[in-house]
Amino acid sequence: MIYVLNLIFVFLVMFMSAYLARHYIFTLTALYHQKGHSHHNPHDTPYQPTVSVLIPARNEEKVIGRILQRMIELTYPKEKLEVIVIDDASTDQTSEIAEEFAKEHECIKVVHRSLEDGGKGKPAALNHGLKYVKGEIVCCFDADYYPQRDILEKLIACFKDPKVGAVQGRVTVLNEPNTLVTRLVALERTGGYRVDQFAREGLGLIPQFGGTVGGFRRSLIESLGGWDASMLAEDTDLTFKVYLASYKVRYVNDAECYEEAVENWRSYWRQRSRWAKGHMQCAFRYIWPLAKSKNLRLREKIDGFLLLNVYFVPILVGLAWTLGATLFLIHPPPWIEILWVAISISVYSSVGNFAPFFEVGIGAYLDGRKRIYWLIPLLLLTFMFNMLICTKALVDLSVSKVAGKKHHAWKKTLHNGRGNCYICNNKVKQDVN
């Protein structure tokens, strides 16, 4: 029995070490490839297909005006652009605000979902919007987002390559100074996009489509059957569908968009629970097709495997911690003290949104940040929180599976519009521009 437990413990440590090595490679890649990375100049490209932007919105009255105003300010030719706001059965002023914009601007269109059909989550709303789309490329932005003016040129340029099926831009936190949670989320985003996604793009692995600040070929999304409304992480689901269909996802670090991050631990819990459950759903669905796929190279398969399982890592760290402690106390083998250090490293390697502290730190440095580093040790808080979130998500999914429940309730993140003040602030406005 002890022998088996020892073996499991060693396996867990090896699994966590694989993630540690992966993130270390990503960090080195971001660090050493930064100078060689070609910065795309959107105004050099003549490639400008018709584009439809989908903005799903449910009770977003505090932020919808901000993104629609920005859509008008986009530098992409208006005759090739249509913006479709999907009013997902909002009960506040979202619909009225969007209609006001639509009256004044020809490129903006509002489609409504009835109270019976609406409120079933973002994928269902996007599928509804897809019926009205005319553009060759379909882009998605969440209602609380605020993109750069030339973001579409930067994103769309990737579609010149016929192998590219989807593209993803960078997400940056708008309301970073508001609370400790927004600051920690900003750090997570820095590690996740500036280093993680950037390195995956650079190494030819699997950059992930994040569900917003990105786009698809319309022909591809239609052939894939649109968004799967039963998935809570419809973005990860689509990423793998795209790869399995022999297309690529590209990440464009220069295409930046500000988001309004969750401001308290309760909202953080809700949002991350949805992400964790959705990611785990994808892991169960795609592990085997990924392994069997003949369209993917070995390194893409390995990266895809690690990406799919990333939300299991906090659970495995917790399990290894418990198992290691038990072995240590009841029957310590001579080598356990050394492996115990690996648990420590893994704890700190999984902080934040599963980006290790050094990845987050280097990301912040590459972004030219000056003072945010003192918060890095506090990412341990988010890791401990994620341990609970992921464990609960796995339990919930298992219970649903046993109960035969296929649909999971989509818990929407509420946006309070407190990020608006940073857009009025000239300094941030210059940065955004």
């Binding site: 960090t27 080195l28 660090l31 911690w321 420590s344 700190y348 502290f357 440095y365 030219g368 890095i376």
Partner: protein
């Protein structure tokens, strides 16, 4: 050049630690080695004067040593007052958090100092 100096400095310090192995346990040695590894390969390539980087690396090692001596002292005191078993439980349960607190903090602080120096230099450059 910077990397070579960093690797050399680390090698010298690790040789000293191994010669003091009777005073340092495996956990301390591994943790300090991890710190040195992350410092040399991730902070030495960044912009900044070599002297400052070596100074921060050595300072980090000193903090790590002090950390383990304090931890060992607490351990010895705990054995006296609480007994060996209680100390074992405390070490095992909170060990994964405690062992790397100094690494994350010192590494982040060093990065912050390098980033501030870079910003300052850029500012001076603009003024010129």
């Amino acid at each position: 050049m910077h990397m070579s100096v960093g690797i050399g400095t680390t090698a010298i310090m690790l040789l000293i630690y191994f010669s003091l192995h009777h005073m340092l346990n495996e956990v301390a040695l591994i943790s300090i080695s991890v710190f040195n590894f992350l410092f040399v390969f991730l902070l030495f390539p960044l912009e900044g004067p070599l002297f400052r980087k070596v100074y921060l690396l050595v300072a980090g090692n000193i903090v790590g040593l002090i950390w383990y001596f304090i931890k060992s002292s607490f351990g010895a005191a705990s054995v006296f007052y609480l007994g060996t078993d209680t100390l074992k439980i405390i070490t095992v349960v909170i060990g994964p958090i405690i062992d790397l607190v100094w690494i994350v903090s010192v590494w982040s602080l060093s990065l912050s100092m390098l980033a501030s120096a870079k910003k300052r230099n850029e500012g001076e450059g603009e003024n010129i």
